[in-house]
Symmetry: C2
Subunit: 237 residues, 2 copies
């Protein structure tokens, strides 16, 4: 907890940290499946979609493809999955609606209350690979009370490229150590740390479904919390 007294802004990883992408995508799939009479394992579908996430961004990060925002990457992956899961008869409109399931992800039960509490004392923002429209639509729907939206799209670089972590301190006119990344993923936190940001690890054991242990926190993380209520407690909010 040393050094967290100067913190002015909390920036949040979103997918898995603030919202339950897996449960939400499964529910959206099941709804579509019922409407269209599709026989699909939507848990496997959701996991496969998410597994394509990092590789698809890495192709942009390595310059193998030009900049494309996350809606576009999700859509390209979706086309592959439709093939792979032998889903037929989806109209363009239905595909677009399914792709935008990522705009309609549900928050974890503690997210809105925790953020609302933290907002009284800190600037709170996303720092997500999600595009601006996705993050804005999600926040409106779920009631996530962000002060502003920081997205990889604004710098056209995906995490863990340095440009993403350096953006919030630079644009908020703060020193890196006045900004804390909150994430459920140690690799994201380690990258932020390498650029001087503070770190809070929030474990989200259900991110990939039941029975999967969250990773161990690094001893260097400034805060480890089970949820946003504990995070708010630790941060005096």
């Amino acid at each position: 907890m040393t050094g967290v007294r100067d913190i002015e802004a909390l920036i949040f990883d979103v997918f898995g940290t603030v919202v339950d992408w897996r449960g939400s995508v499964i529910r959206e799939g099941e709804k579509l499946g019922r409407e269209k009479g599709l026989d699909v394992d939507w848990s496997a579908f959701a996991d496969e979609w998410r597994r394509r996430y990092k590789p698809s961004m890495d192709r942009v990060r390595k310059g193998e493809t030009s900049w494309r925002n996350l809606d576009a990457l999700h859509r390209a992956s979706l086309e592959e999955l439709i093939e792979e899961f032998a889903i037929t008869d989806l109209t363009e409109e239905e595909k677009d609606h399914l792709n935008k399931a990522w705009h309609r992800l549900e928050p974890w039960p503690d997210s809105v209350a925790g953020l609302t509490r933290l907002k009284h004392r800190y600037i709170i923002s996303t720092l997500s690979n999600g595009n601006v429209a996705l993050l804005t639509n999600m926040a409106k729907r779920a009631g996530l009370p962000w002060d502003l939206i920081f997205s990889a799209e604004l710098v056209r670089h995906y995490k863990p490229d340095p440009e993403t972590y350096l953006m919030p301190p630079s644009l908020l006119d703060l020193r890196p150590e006045q900004v804390m990344l909150v994430a459920a993923h140690p690799d994201d936190l380690r990258a932020a740390q390498s650029h001087g940001l503070r770190t809070a690890y929030v474990t989200r054991p259900l991110e990939w479904g039941p029975g999967i242990e969250p990773e161990e926190p690094d001893p260097s993380f400034d805060i480890v919390a089970e949820d946003f209520a504990e995070l708010a407690e630790e941060l005096g909010a």
Copy 2:
């Protein structure tokens, strides 16, 4: 009012439209003046500071100087004013605090209630030449409930450069006609209109102090309102 049914997002000019820069800067100056025993006409000081605003941005827009955010432009103007108004004995810290008066501007009396009402139905954002830190700090302090912050700083172009007006539709994945600029300045609205955005003119007769008539609205503006309560009424929020 034709065509406003499809609107999804309202983007707001800030200085003069949402906040009373003149009254706020005068109050900040008077406070400093009392503390330091300065004899300064703070109304004239505020007006002079604001008069340097457009020319200072124009130098950036025309490429006469490289990109500098509004805090930096305000600070350069402040150095000139300190000379001109023969203000002596200000420490670096006091100058910085005075410069950041622009982060502490007070909203017009109807702003917070009107925005809160509009937020239920629309995405609401700034579209301001103010830098991100300025707009964020102002919103936190004044309780302006923005969904997100669009700033000239994000595209490194000041209004009325096209890049500024095109940013919100592009990043929100909306057509220009689904986005409405709200501003107290016809020239700002005309520029937005030339890029396909909808327009709402809110008259702020006290922006430059009492006794100055607001400009006449163009007949082409979609909405003309006296304040944000009337705007919310017109927009069905």
